[in-house]
Amino acid sequence: MIEARITEKRRNLRDAYSSALISLGEKNENVVVLDADLALSTKTKRFGTVFPERFFDMGIAEATMMDVAAGLATCGKIVFASTFAVFATGRSYDSIRQSIAYPELNVKIVATHSGISVGGDGASHQMLEDMALMRALPNMRVIAPADATEMEDVVFKIAEADGPFYVRIGREDAPIIFESHGHFEIGKGYEIRKGKDVAIIATGTMTAEALRAYDILEKRGIEAMLIHMPSIKPIDEKLIRKAAKETGAIITCEEHTIIGGLGDAVAMAMHDEPVPLYRIGVNDVFGESGGARELMEKYGLTAENIAEKAEKMVNRKK
């Protein structure tokens, strides 16, 4: 089992992203980075400062940025293209579909500011469907890391693997959960707490909430199995089936609409031997302006809500 706990330390995943990009850039001169007038927010600007000749700000033109990324990739470049999740996927969907996923080109879309915790900007900027959109594309792999340590590993791993990836991270600083590097593998999930009563499967920002939920449940005498699932596609089917078999009840947690994301991926994985599944996510509504934490609470994306739903599921089993 890999070591995972909520530590006192916090680090922004965007900082981890830019550090990893710079060290990739040092090692491989084929690494090229694109952004669309959000380089200060996504922090790709740091790469641009170190490697100005390999950094291209495409201006406010996200769809074209994806086509340009594809073109660069056909010429042997390893391309990282970044902007906010809402513009990286929604606005650019057809460019990604036609120019990146279909020809299976070596473009890594790393999107920041995903989810409702974007806060004050409101629904127009709170991307809650990006995993659904990207999961639906053949050849596209989808990753949602939980902390800065894992984020660095993700960036290195996807740079080594040929072909398209979509990586989603949030805006807020996040607690460090993994103190040591090295566990991340594409397609693998991680059992970070053992338990037999119910399995909680979480991804991205929700893994920290799930860890807190575990503690709440422990106090109530419930032993939850906890799975961190950074790789949404391909997903760790074996681990999901094991969790279903050993616990008989699954809860999925994602800062995303309940349609088309982690919950659906988990349901698909246990299609022939299903167990009750409850999805925690945003319930098919647009978000709204508010504080990040306030919104997470209002939309039920908290440890407390996970614990409450988990307890209900355990009681129903009896």
């Binding site: 959000l38 200060l40 700000d57 074209t64 004050g120 409101g122 127009s124 302006s289 504080g291």
Partner: protein, 298 residues
């Protein structure tokens, strides 16, 4: 404003018109300052938001909502009203200030900008905010929506006009050019786009990030009538609106502006694109704007 016959120039009538003009301009300057103050107030209270691009359109908003546009705050859904699409939706604080000043909703609401459970969303939401004609926030969509509204006017034989406010960085989006082409194709003389040419986007000056010039020439090539003005000169704005009334093509007004206009330490800076003032900066900004108001009264 209105063009005057030469024979009138020394007459008492002309004198009266001039006096009236002066009063109108002074009143609009006052409105613009009020909008600026409320932009600062609401963004400060929210603790986030976009002051720079809101301040650069304050004079234009004052002229539109308090002079040029036909609208009725008591009936926001009036079918014959002129429409306004704030395509650069992040300048919502300026739009909300203008709408509150016009009476669409209680001024006190401005203090609840971006707060959970309140209706003033970080970016304009037509379902929640009375007076907002189109939901925006993702750049590049507003001109297309404006084309739709202008087409509907033609279909329904209504004489309302559609104003679309564009950011200069925003016109890097390809969709803007698709919409610009459609507007001239369908001869939408009832469509007026206003380009807030403040020369900055987020990552830097527009010409460094992704060049736009020659802007006028490009839009003319797309079949638009183009005028270029000082976007902070109320008199010139009013004069321009008057001049373009009978254009037979869609019109682009290139309004040369200063990002952060009216607050000295925000003017021409990148840093206040999407950052609220600190407490100390808030106090300074308000006192500068109040001083400007005082000078207007002298």
């Amino acid at each position: 404003m209105s063009s005057i016959m030469p024979s009138l120039i020394n007459s008492p009538t002309y004198f009266i018109i001039k006096m009236h003009e002066k009063a109108v301009i002074k009143e609009l300057k006052r409105k613009a300052l009020q909008i600026r103050k409320w932009v600062i107030e609401s963004v400060y209270q929210a603790g986030s938001g976009h002051p720079g691009g809101s301040l650069s359109i304050a004079d234009m908003m004052a002229c539109l909502y308090f002079h040029e546009m036909r609208h009725n705050p008591k009936n926001p859904a009036w079918e014959d009203r002129d429409r306004l699409v704030l395509s650069k939706g992040h300048a919502a604080p300026a739009l909300y200030a203008a709408l509150a000043l016009a009476g669409y909703f209680d001024v006190e609401e401005l203090k609840n900008l971006r707060k959970i459970g309140h209706f003033l969303q970080g970016h304009p939401c037509m379902k929640k905010v009375p007076g907002v004609d189109m939901s925006t926030g993702s750049l590049g969509h507003g001109l297309g929506a404006g084309v739709g509204m202008a087409l509907a006017a033609k279909l329904d034989k209504r004489d309302y006009r559609v104003f679309v406010i564009l950011g200069d960085g925003e016109i890097q989006e390809g969709s803007i050019w698709e919409a610009a082409n459609a507007a001239s194709h369908y001869k939408l003389d009832n469509l007026i786009a206003i380009l807030d040419r403040n020369k900055l986007q987020i990552d830097g000056p527009t010409e460094e990030i992704m060049h736009l010039e020659p802007i006028a020439w490009r839009w003319q090539a797309f079949g638009w009538e183009v005028v270029e003005i000082d976007g902070h000169d109320i008199e010139e704005i009013l004069h321009t609106f008057h001049e373009i009334r009978h254009n037979e093509k869609p019109t682009l007004i290139i309004a040369n502006t200063v990002k952060g206009k009216g607050v000295s330490f925000m003017e021409g800076t990148l840093s206040f694109h999407g950052k609220p003032p600190s407490e100390e900066q808030y106090v300074r900004a308000m006192s500068e704007l109040e001083q400007a108001e005082g000078e207007l009264n002298d």
